[in-house]
Amino acid sequence: MIWIDVLVQGILLGGLYALFAAGLSLVFGIMRLVNLAHGDLIVFAAFAILLITGTLGLNPFLAALLAAPLMFAAGWTLQRFVLNRVLGKDILPPLLVTFGLSVALQNGMLEIFSADSQRLSVGRLESASIDLGVVTVGTLPLLTFASAVGVIFVLNRIFYTTALGRAFRAVSDDPTTASLMGLNPKSIFAIATGLAMVIVTLAALYLGMRSNFDPSIGPARLLYAFQAVIIGGLGSLWGTLAGGAIIGVAQTFGAQINPEWQILAGHIAFLVVLLIRPRGLFPRAVD
């Protein structure tokens, strides 16, 4: 019985990891850019939400609604004025710029917000649960998972049914030809990063409500996000959700056996998948 419970908790935790991963996957899919500061941007967004709840006395959900456009602007600016300048055939410059950004963000947040653990408080929702007969699940984890499903559904709709999505796919396939058709790849990239930051804000909201956060936890979130993307297979957003669930389940099972093994178990699961399915479970893209 306990194992069913552990399994369900793991899958729900995977929803959070899928939220971490969706933004990373989006940006990589469109411009082959791996943002090493992705985890730190999630933590940054969590602090932004915290700041808004503190100053305006708002509920975290409403605060996230306010933070989202700000994060969109931050992502747009970052892409337009920094990352676009280093994108190219050579993968080294964008990696090093985002790595520098990761270190700068971490230490900037450390100075401004101190190393203290913080949390987004949502009162009763934190401990609320729903009895599903076989297992009892927390309302918050369930909401997180539902949001992950929602985000991936919406992203897929954007990708395959809107003009913006067509532009995304076009600049992803061939920026030069896309620009001949009247698109400006650089502004499409900026919109994509802005959109990724909106997802990051949502991920930050659930991260902050679920557990404590402090400026140093960004890189670990990046690693979980990355593992979810790779397990799922590049280019498949639903695969990313599955990848997140696999990491989540591995972690909850590991923790059940020995609390010290929680993180390690997630990493091992990643290696096993990389060993037997190097291209992930549901590969779509060629590169």
């Binding site: 280093v86 080294l92 270190v103 450390l110 990355f226």
Partner: protein, 349 residues
């Protein structure tokens, strides 16, 4: 008319002589330098070696690793294991550090090379994290809190008594001198080896693989072999450096030995600021880094924030770093790897 291919230039001949003179000065320096200077130089030399090794795999080989801390950490822990578990002398135990790093590099390369392009970077980071978590489970070496080298082991390291006698130093200072000499040997050996590699056929093959994997293979370069060789060699050397650093520190913990900031972020910043893809870059970079460290290290996170921003600014405005700027203005290359055709007119006598 005769033709010959050479990499030698006037500047490189002068640089070669200057380098030999500098090494000579470096060797006899402990006779008159203060202990704090020796410690500073130890720091500079070890960071320089790490930066050159990262530069080799990332700058020359195109394999951007963010997991170098894995090799520093495992090298240091293997040295500790040799000393604490098997009673080795710390200095020969450094060899264990290199061996352990080599052994770790095999699975790391196996997994990370499966990852496309830029995801290689995060892949190496994941393996480094896994290694840190596993080492933290190693209870006999202190688990998550770490441990120190036993006093008996550090007290009679071979050679320290002799150094103490010759220079009239106390044991602790003599240990610093020994560590400094080893760091000097590692730095010089690493740079000489990298320079020799870059001027060899393998060096050309490496550059070809970095610039275009497929094109390199089409002209007969065994891309996999070149990448594996370079990655494993760099990892082994990084393991030596890690072990040496912790012989000097004599106190270890997983968080410090596997610190991504100390052993990868700093190292990348040194290479980026000095100039990626050139041997001169990290030399210049480490001097700038040491200067910044000396002046601003008290500012803690502000300092790291500024360093991160400086690295971003360098990549945006001078992607080939300080040495790139100097090279563009003057054309000087102290360690040229570019092959030039030289034509000599026959003597008309």
């Amino acid at each position: 008319m005769t033709h010959s291919v050479t990499t030698r230039t006037r500047a490189s001949s002068i640089a070669g002589i200057a380098a030999l003179a500098l090494i000579g000065v470096g060797l006899i320096l402990p006779a008159f330098a203060s202990r704090s200077l020796i410690q500073d130089l130890f720091f500079i030399l070890t960071m320089l070696t790490l930066a050159q090794l990262w530069n080799l795999i990332a700058g020359f080989g195109g394999m951007v690793s963010v997991g170098q801390q894995a090799f520093v950490g495992i090298g240091a822990y293997a040295m500790f294991a040799g000393v604490i578990l098997w009673g080795w002398d710390p200095v020969p135990a450094i060899l264990l550090g290199g061996l352990a790093a080599f052994l770790l590099a095999i699975p790391m390369a196996f997994f990370a090379f499966r990852l496309a392009g830029a995801y290689f970077a995060i892949g190496t980071w994941v393996i480094a994290e896994i290694t840190r978590l596993l080492v933290a489970q190693w209870k006999t070496l202190g688990g998550g809190t770490g441990t120190s080298l036993p006093r008996e082991a550090t007290a009679d390291i071979i050679g320290v008594a002799t150094i103490a006698d010759v220079f009239g130093l106390r044991d602790a200072a003599a240990r610093d001198v020994l560590a400094y000499w080893l760091a000097l040997a590692l730095a010089v050996g690493t740079m000489a080896a990298i320079y020799a590699l870059l001027r060899s056929r393998t060096g050309l093959a490496l550059a070809a693989v970095r610039d275009n994997d497929n094109a390199a293979q089409s002209v007969g370069v065994d891309a996999r072999r070149v990448k594996w060789t370079v990655f494993l060699s760099a990892a082994t050397m990084t393991g030596f450096v890690g072990a040496l650093i912790y012989v000097q520190t004599a106190r270890i913990s997983p968080d410090a030995a596997f610190s991504v900031t100390n052993w990868t972020a700093y190292v990348i910043f040194i290479a980026v600021i000095g100039g990626i893809g050139r041997l001169e870059g990290p030399i210049l970079g480490v001097l700038v880094f040491w200067g910044l460290q000396t002046v601003f290290a008290d500012y803690g996170s502000w300092y790291l924030l500024a360093l991160g921003l400086l690295a971003i600014a360098t990549m945006l405005f001078a992607p080939r770093g300080l040495w790139g700027l100097i090279h563009d203005r003057t054309g000087i290359a102290l360690f040229p790897v570019q092959r030039r055709l030289v034509t000599t007119e026959p003597n008309k006598t």
